[in-house]
Symmetry: C2
Subunit: 307 residues, 2 copies
């Protein structure tokens, strides 16, 4: 469900780097707070939840939440809790995607996947528990004073993550004969599998700020484009990078005969398409002036990433 | 996570039977409405969700929601949506519990389990999607006019189903050397694994009615006792019934060397304990007069069930 990609160091953009690091730091402190401490006879599931969450990751979705909230001068606990909710949901999707019956991956971020570090039953349960706690975090009064806002966050996250969102994308990816997919189908698959959660992450700032439908729509459009660039560069890395750099197996898509925009358009064609979409994403942020600096910088950063 | 038990025909109680049938009928119509129709490239996950939901089941949790709501004269869409949310959540727990890496069951309600009827990846995803849609249903404005109420439903369901609730119970059941468990630990395990969701189902009526903490506490106490009776009679059936009657494998707990209140107290001791707890559950409903008739009748019905 979640993207299999992990971008490491890449591009320049020191301001963006600082913003990414600040988001990672802030959300990790919040995750430490909201995840249960291992206790009781059920401690093993708590340990597996924490193992999956604290195995690293660049915390891109939390960054998107915090940056989209900052467009409306929303910061603090509510934004961090929302960021934490999206990150636990994203992490559940990685834990379940890695299972033997799904992508059967042994490595994630250079570490044993949850079912390898623990066992398969524990990984299923830890994923279930991470998914569940995402909604507990969002619905808690500490996330926003308005219950209407909290309900909208719950509702939109459930849609984005559900059978017509992220789970639907993973279903297509698992079962469809997607070596025969054309560009439209590949884009649809990715929009469901990874794009919807990006859309929610960017829209969340506008929801928290009660900024209105126009801002939500604009931020979803940015997220859609950003997600496509993210995916194309991930597919490019799958073709051009090494396992050492990415911390996971590479060449898997080619090996599995999966269609990607890279296999359809070629390496150069896909690179050009990514640049075109990135420019559109950046242009869509004009209304936010300097407040959107980090969201703008993200696009060239993704285009230039090498891991 | 969910109980493995299936009570079929048992006891007398024609009024209760009618109430159970009405609840099943009402919630099934609601489930038909709220579950996605199979469509798109992801149709397979929709089909698996529906397969698991419409495979039968007595809809005991929806009955508890509707009856607890009726204590406060709450009926209609909101109660039915809440009942549907609990049933999809319960069903997800069955789908995941049945997985090869968990209880590895081939039969559920006399039908092939989801991973046998489809495949393991689809069953994981369908379970995930059922869990996710439970929160989408509860957070939707159609469930209650007050967003505060909807948020409380989301929050309480997430707690009841999470790593310190149902999932925690399943974790204990999967991993702990529970052949050495004493009565306290067996009761704790069952309170987490099946009891918490029963508690939420009964409490939900009071939440929907905004009836206040006293009613919520009283209904949770009823649910706790009812859940214990449910579990003890399930364990008794595991020892005394046949696969033909229950529609699933029997004798599994004994075979696995699992401690139950039956293995600890003996068949007669467990029967007496169940009767004692059932009487306490019924007495706790005194405040609700005739409005609690069906909730009262449920206890002797459970005590006398033969499948």
């Amino acid at each position: 469900m979640g993207s299999s990609g992990q971008s490491g160091a890449g591009g320049s953009a020191p301001g963006l780097r600082r913003a990414l690091e600040a988001a990672a730091h802030g959300v990790e402190r919040m995750l430490e707070d909201v995840l249960p401490k291992p206790h009781g006879l059920q401690a093993r599931v708590h340990e597996a939840m924490r193992y999956a969450i604290f195995a690293g990751g660049k915390r891109l979705r939390p960054f998107l939440v915090l940056q989209s909230a900052a467009l409306f001068e929303v910061a603090g606990t509510g934004a961090l809790r929302t960021a934490a909710a999206i990150e636990v949901l994203h992490t559940y999707s990685l834990v379940h995607d890695d299972l033997p019956s799904m992508d059967d991956d042994d490595l994630r971020r250079g570490q044993p996947t949850a079912h390898r570090a623990f066992d398969e039953a524990t990984a299923v349960l830890a994923g279930d528990a991470l998914l569940t706690i995402a909604f507990e975090i969002l619905s808690h009064p500490a996330t926003h004073a308005s219950a209407e806002v909290r309900c909208r966050l719950v509702s939109r996250l459930a849609e984005a993550a559900g059978s017509n969102g992220m789970i639907g994308g993973q279903m297509i990816d698992m079962r469809a004969p997607n070596s025969s997919f054309g560009a439209d189908e590949v884009v649809l698959l990715q929009r469901l599998k990874t794009g919807q959660l990006f859309e929610f992450a960017c829209e969340a700032g506008a929801i928290l700020a009660e900024a209105g439908a126009e801002h939500e729509t604009r931020l979803r459009a940015y997220a859609r484009d950003m997600g496509l660039v993210f995916q194309i560069t991930d597919d490019l890395l799958d073709v051009t990078s090494t396992a050492e750099k990415t911390g996971k197996a590479v060449g898997k898509d080619q090996g599995a005969g999966k269609a990607t925009l890279v296999s359809i358009m070629g390496v150069e064609g896909a690179r050009q398409e990514a640049r075109r979409i990135a420019a559109r994403a950046v242009a869509g942020l004009d209304a936010y002036d300097s407040k959107a600096a980090a969201l703008r910088e993200l696009l060239p950063f993704l285009l230039e990433r090498d891991a």
